[in-house]
Symmetry: C2
Subunit: 251 residues, 2 copies
């Protein structure tokens, strides 16, 4: 399996044909997985906004006031408003906002990015990233596309790449029912391949000025396994979310 | 960047020289990252145990009785005892055991594996996986080694590869202070490269009978960044762990 970055992608602007920009810079092979950072997908899709687009309501003002008191520095209630509008559940409101976005992804600040956004204050995540992936797949004539994000996690420091949208392959492969070397049945092994592809992609993509938002994974063999498109947990299967519902930060 | 599996590794047994077994099957290049599944490290290090090695104390019997009542099927208190002995904190005791292992890794059942273990009932994680990585690095004359595990996570279905030990590279690279395309300083970007390497490795390693526990990542460029070896969070920085401390499963 091989990974490489697509070189020389220009700054992406709202309305740009991202598939054309990428397609002009790479020769794709069958089964290639094109991993595209959500930032450039969002830019092309016009998800650049300004704080003025989000006049703060009472809930956002309440959240920002509490964060301001905790942090001892100014917090813009319009940012809290933007996060709320992008979310369907608020999992934590302090010491930072952790929410479930409309499409099921749990992340800090609903994944809204405040850096790397010429012409605006805010870069929202794509509205429906798997639909974005499907459109890019069509436009690129690629077999497989993953839209990636980078985010932190409990238990472990640091961020890693994760998938937020995918097309042309299932989110995971299912090894359950297959057997180990001694013939015993494997029980609980559903492997989130799109997240692993996103993580692998992040190793060659980088961040910041030298970052390359599009990479290609070549010769990834999904193998002969069942697949599933369930990536985002609901609260029933997520004990951490259940625990967070009853918890309040007091620091 | 390229990834490939090391072929034809035999079944690893306690006392085997794992570095020699691997070294005979691959020609390593400078800067290669050898990713080794914790299962084979544990086997070579004799971490194969039987349930009889863990006579259950009162706490283990209490935990098993509760899990038995919840699941409606028999639970061996000796397994709970093994998990407790491998752990320094019990984060959840139902509907499954989630603990912090001695070396800081949070996982279900302290990462104890009940499949794929000829000659025993249980396969414990390596005692100090970064020391294992360092020994393998020496024995293989490899530049970089990552010991991997596979585990689930909150918010997302499925499992993905993670690092539990590493040698020859830092756990993460630090992009803070570097600049984006518009010259703005990047704020919160510490990238857990060892976890991303473990995830990438898992894509080519597979599970079960056809699984290949050792892979090589070639031409991974860490770049000119600061690094850090902090991978496992303490409770101060981990709000999910704080929330779990106050939570009890009532399902």
């Amino acid at each position: 399996m091989e990974l490489f970055a697509v070189p020389d992608l220009p700054e992406v602007k709202p309305g740009d044909d991202l598939a054309a920009l990428v397609g002009a810079r790479v020769d794709l092979a069958p089964d290639d997985v094109v991993c595209v950072a959500s930032t450039v997908v969002s830019k092309a899709e016009g998800r650049v906004k300004t704080l003025d687009d989000f006049p703060a309501g009472p809930r956002a003002r309440e959240i920002a006031a509490r964060l301001e008191a905790l942090a001892g520095e100014e917090k813009d209630p319009r940012f809290a408003q933007a996060v709320l509008e992008e979310s369907t559940e608020l999992l934590m409101e302090a010491p930072f906002l952790l929410t479930e976005t409309r499409f099921g992804h749990v992340s800090v600040n609903a994944g809204i990015d405040r850096s790397n956004v010429p012409g605006g204050d805010l870069l929202l995540l794509p509205k429906r990233p798997s639909e974005s992936a499907e459109r890019l797949r069509g436009g690129l004539d690629a077999d497989r596309v993953v839209v990636t994000d980078t985010c932190g996690r409990p238990f472990r420091h640091g961020q890693r790449g994760v998938a937020i949208g995918w097309a042309g392959l299932p989110a995971s492969r299912d090894w359950r029912g297959e057997r180990d070397r001694d013939g015993r049945e494997l029980t609980a092994t559903v492997e989130s391949v799109v997240d692993e592809l996103a993580a692998a992609s992040n190793l060659v993509a980088g961040e910041g000025a030298g970052g390359t938002p599009v990479t290609v994974v070549r010769d990834f063999d999904f193998g002969d396994h069942a697949g599933s498109d369930e990536l985002f947990r609901d609260v029933e299967s997520d004990f951490v979310r259940q625990a967070l519902r009853g918890w309040r930060y007091e620091g």
